[in-house]
Subunit: 177 residues, 2 copies
Amino acid sequence: MKEKILREKILYKGKIVNVKEVEVELPNGKIGIREVVEHPGAVAILPINHDGSIFFVKQYRMCTGEILLEIPAGKLNFGEDPYQCAIRELEEEIGYRAKRLELIHSFYTSPGITNEVLYLFEAGNLEKTKVNPEEDEFLEIISLRREDVERLLKENKIKDAKTLIAIYYYLAGRHRL
Amino acid sequence: MKEKILREKILYKGKIVNVKEVEVELPNGKIGIREVVEHPGAVAILPINHDGSIFFVKQYRMCTGEILLEIPAGKLNFGEDPYQCAIRELEEEIGYRAKRLELIHSFYTSPGITNEVLYLFEAGNLEKTKVNPEEDEFLEIISLRREDVERLLKENKIKDAKTLIAIYYYLAGRHRL
């Protein structure tokens, strides 16, 4: 089922992503061309408050032309450990430190086009510190109770894949913190 | 919170994706550069068999270097209706026609880098027809019972975002078909 890489060429080098075209030998011996969007990977955090409510961020996403409601998330710096990245992003985006942080899942966001892996954590025992967003980030922090999350899910107001995974996990009572 | 587009340039034109660089005015008046991976959108289908089992496909994903277990999915053709695309992809990939097909969610796979929208359907009342994969697709079809799906989830064997959303939805008993 595997494909043998014959040649690859980087055709675009960007700030966050690169694109390479890869010539492969398919399982039937034919030649195919695959496009790969290279991405450094990212983390997302489901932050569960003492009262069971969840912190979200509202953020304009240029790629989509919409303001989206998402759980806090951010790209891995070069060589950064996902766990350390999750601690950093949680503090930067919502101004909390988590005394407990556990990896729930790691998954590919869109395996047909990119190698982007997302590490999804749940965070509990939260302690207030101070938000510290990146220079080009403009976020609104929102805390929602379980019933509000359930309502937003039913109304299709959650339009982000990682956030859907996190809240299905949370609503199913699978969280450990 | 919105960003005003000042200029945009297509820097890569590929078979499936394009990449454009967009110069934007940020909410604080400063200038920022955003990269957008343009994608035509895709569908995925949670196919629920008469006995409650689910059809999956195993597939080598060049971008990830791994064989992944996913629900059936595929890209939208230019101008194609997601509902029609879901019917087509279900038949192509697993050889079934669905008498019932309902949209569960539509979401962005990775809104920080791409405009890719994924339309997730559930499919029921399945009737056997004939598989008809695309020329460069090599799939293995697998049917799994609820308890197997639950076990694979716990063992972190599900590494694809859309598939995680679909199976959390299914395991929570939210499916209508």
